[in-house]
Symmetry: C2
Subunit: 206 residues, 2 copies
Amino acid sequence: MHHQSLEPCLGPLFARHILARNGESSDHALLSTDCLHNSDEFNYGVETWEAYKRGCLSDDLIEEQKKVQEANLLIFQFPLYWFSMPAIMKGWMDRVLVQGFAHEFPNCYDSGLLKNKLALFSFTTGGSKEMYAKGGINGDIRYLLWPMQHGIMHFCGVKVLEPHICFAPEYVSEEKRKEMLLAWAQRLKTLWKEEPINCSPEWYFK
Amino acid sequence: MHHQSLEPCLGPLFARHILARNGESSDHALLSTDCLHNSDEFNYGVETWEAYKRGCLSDDLIEEQKKVQEANLLIFQFPLYWFSMPAIMKGWMDRVLVQGFAHEFPNCYDSGLLKNKLALFSFTTGGSKEMYAKGGINGDIRYLLWPMQHGIMHFCGVKVLEPHICFAPEYVSEEKRKEMLLAWAQRLKTLWKEEPINCSPEWYFK
C-alpha cells in the first residue's frame, strides 16, 4: 500500500493530516500507512477504530488517551471562538476520542466507554453576560454548549458539571478579573461535591 | 520584537500556530512577527484585526478572504464530526473570518460585514434521521446548527439557506446514495430561488 494512492480521494492536505508516510514524522498524523486495515477503500472511522485496537494510533494520541484514561475529571479551559472551542481543541476531540476508546456502538451516551468520568468546560468569552442571556443578541449561552457537552462528552458517557464561564474578561476591570480568578479557585475546592447537570434538551433549551 | 518573548505566555505550540518566525514559512501561521501591533501585550483579536487592516495576514488567509469576498454563496461541505464541523474546517473559520474583514463591532449579525452573501451547510452524518429527530437520542439536528449557522455565519451578516443533510450515507444502499446525489444536484438547480431561514432561536429550538 502506498500513501500516494489515497491522495486523489482525500486531497493531499487531508491525507497529510491523517496518514504518516513511512519514515516521516507522525507529528500531526492520526495513523501510520504501515498499518492500514483496508487500503483499497479508505474509511476514516473504521481505520482509526482498527488502529486503536491494534495500538497503531500515532504516539501522541496514545499518550493523550492514557491521560484521559487515568483522569477522573477532565477540565477543558479555552477562549470561546465562534460559539465553540478553538479549532486546535476541536482537533484534540476529533483525534483522541476515537471509536473503541471513547465509544463503541451501542456503548454511547449513558453507557459510553468513558462513563464514571466527569468533565467541565471552563471558558472565557468576548461578549458580556447580557449578550449571552436568553433574550440577548447571542442567545442563551447554554444553546452553544449542546454540541460540546452533549454531542461529545455525554456521547462518550462522561457526566458534565456546570460550565465555568468568565464573561468578557478583556473588557472588565483588573479588580473584576481578580475576582474571577478567586471565584474559580474557590469553586475548585468543592468541585468534587458537585452534582452533574441533567444532560437533557430541557437543560439546554427550556 | 523577538518571537521567543511570546512563547512563555502562549506556549510554544500555540505560538508556532499564530506567528511565523522571520524567514520561516508562514504555512500555518496567522501573521508574521515582523508586523505585530503590540508585542509587549499580545492580544490575539487585536493583532489579527490590525494585521488585516495593514495587509499583514499570511498569504493563504488573504487568498481565502479574496474567495469569500468574490462569492455570493458559500457552501460548506463536510462530514459531521462530533456535532460540528471537523477541526480543519473550524480552523478555517477561526483564521479567515477575522475582525475587520467579516465583522467589526457594532457591525455584526444583520449588519455584519459579509451581509448580502448566502451560506449553506451541506453535510453527511453517521447517525440516522431518526437519531437526529426531536425525541431521538441525538436530539433535533437543528440544535447543533446554532453555533455554525447563527454564531458564525449570521454573526458575520451572512444569510443562511436550509442545510442540506445526507443522513448516514455509509449505512444505506448504493441506490439510496445515488438518490442522495441526485437530490443535491436537483436542489442546486433552483438554489438561487430559495429564501434564507428565519435565523432566530425559534427556528432552532422550537
